[in-house]
Amino acid sequence: MKKWHFLVLAVVILFLLLPSVSWGEGKKIGLILGTGGLGDKSFNDISYVGALEASEELGIGLDYVEPKAIAEYEGYQRDFASSGGYEIIVCIGFDQADALDRIAQEFPQQKFALVDMTVDQPNVASLLFKANEGGFLLGIQAAYMTESKKIGVVGGMDIPLIRDFFVGFEEGVRWADTGAEVLPKVYVGTWADPTKGKELALSLIDQGCDLIWAVAGKSGLGALEAAKERGVYAMGVDACQCYLGDHIIASETKRVDIAVYETIKAAFDGTFQGGIMERGVAEGWIGICRLPEEQPLWEETFDFKHQVEIPLEVMQKIEEAKEKISKGEIEVPRPPEFGG
């Protein structure tokens, strides 16, 4: 083969690898998912749902990529941005922040959105969630559903991001005032050790907990499994995790779909703003999967079924708290790092 054959081949391959950009048409939506990829039944899937909804409603194209490692983020961000074919590029996950900080400066005219982390650039909208408020609602439910009045929580790492969940949760348990208490919080120390997660949950159950809340990524899957094995209730996080077993009675949900959807719409109708967008229960960015407005998403779009009924009085209590938080009558505490 002659040398120019290779050259042609190389150019062809290069174009195949680039995200498809349609010149001449209107600008599209770019979505750079987290390393977990589609199928994670969590952040990535739900972000995709939001982006897809925006794409269908606005009648514009959506291109998405699934990077396999953190090192790949920067390349995808640059490819998307340098093509000039995207009105907004949405980046999912806190670990894209370092790369985005560089790329956003390289392409100051390009609009970006980042989920779950802050990048301090004028062209980046940082979408943050008040996890403490969802924790509060979940805490109310936990306080009512525990019979032994002892609740255990398992965290991935003792960092502000996770403490934010727990501070709200403990306050919710107190607010419900059913005599239930949260045992000292335990941490796995890593996100990917379900074996340790399970052992920690077992040690909590051995001390009389009959409800376990896991906020620990893959380590948390082990904690949820421990609850299943011992026949006690458990609660999930980020997205509805009730598909993992009937014993999981609720999950705190970060509605990344809504956040992504609203940000994309803002980008296309010209109201996009850079900076920190921090929303909570009032705006519907945070909730629990058992709320009436959320249940259809989880049960119909994702086909996750809930088995354990939640008594009406508990749901009413949660609704009451939700309303009070929205109106500002209840102020849910936060860790000092988040201005609490």
Partner: protein
């Protein structure tokens, strides 16, 4: 929680559960090193077996098939390590590291294809636990030892068998000779390469069982990276145990206990979790630096080239 709960039954049961994967891997590493091959790939071998065990169970519906797949996976990677390091004199650390990286990449890739998610598999049927009525008759010890997974009992058998084999059989004697002085062993008519091959494969298979314990006995699913450094902790346990089966077992128990203790101290809520989480690592450093004394490896780990 009361301080007294630290010394409860559950902490000792947890110790055994946490120690089992380490025991398997430490024994596995020991057999490899006794044969003169450093197995730095224990971590990847464990992860691989953990993955194959779940995959085979998922498709066959039988955890027995999963166990077999985990064993075969350990044997296969052991064969790779043996082939490259014994036959082709490749660098042991390079091949071992390659196995570790391969374990991470391969499991993520297939996980994505089969379950549509890189993070974790779906739940499968796990290996059964064993209830041995005669154990209950032993006071104190009985309840601690009873009702564990069959792999826990297999790990007990493995270390007892390994001890007998290594120090009370002529094969064990030859194996030790192959590691310590391959030249002399060869002169004495021992097939050095064959011994090295067989025991590297056997050792890797044992490490694989440790992985199967994690995914199919302790849990019933696979999560990416779920071994979480246990292969390397097992290497430490092996050195701490001075390359003897009993030493490996006791060191694994110590590390398992440190972990179980750490978890229960956390529930006391008296110390910041960051400090408590240090505990197992602190113990590792302390025992390796102070208590263990001089650790003399059983081999110089050089590839044996027949003259």
């Amino acid at each position: 929680m009361e301080i007294g709960a630290l010394f409860s039954l559950s902490i000792l049961q947890a110790t055994i559960r946490m120690a089992t994967p380490l025991t398997f891997a430490a024994l596995g590493g020991m057999f490899c090193e006794r044969a003169g091959v450093i197995n730095i790939g224990l971590e990847g071998i464990m992860l691989h077996s953990a993955f194959w065990a779940v995959l085979a169970t998922y498709f066959s519906g039988s955890p027995g098939v999963g166990l077999l797949a985990g064993i075969l996976s350990g044997m296969a990677l052991g064969a790779v390590l043996a082939l490259f390091t014994v036959k082709y004199y490749a660098d042991q650390i390079v091949i071992g590291t390659g196995i570790n990286i391969f374990g991470l990449g391969f499991s993520a890739f297939v996980c994505q294809r089969v379950w549509g998610s890189r993070g974790a598999s779906e739940a499968v049927a796990g290996l059964p636990s064993l209830s041995l009525p005669f154990l209950d008759r032993i006071p104190y010890l009985g309840p601690i030892l009873n009702n564990h997974s069959i792999l826990v009992y297999l790990s007990f058998l493995a270390f007892i068998f390994a001890h007998y084999f290594l120090f009370y059989t002529s094969w064990g004697l030859r194996l030790r000779a192959v590691g310590e002085n391959p030249q002399s062993a060869d002169t004495a008519g021992i097939n050095v390469h064959l011994y090295k091959m067989v025991f590297v494969i056997l050792g890797s298979t044992l490490a694989g069982l440790g992985g199967v314990f994690l995914s199919l006995a302790h849990l019933n699913f696979f999560a990416w990276g779920m071994t979480n450094g246990r292969g390397f902790i097992a290497l430490a346990a092996m050195i701490f145990g001075k390359w003897t089966p009993i030493g490996c077992f006791l060191a694994s128990l110590l590390f398992g206990f440190a972990d179980a203790l750490q978890m229960r101290i956390q529930t006391l809520g008296i110390l910041p979790p960051q400090i408590i989480l240090l505990l197992p690592y602190l113990i590792t450093i302390l025992v390796l630096a102070g208590l263990v004394g001089k650790a003399t490896p059983p081999s110089d780990y050089k590839p044996y080239v027949k003259k």
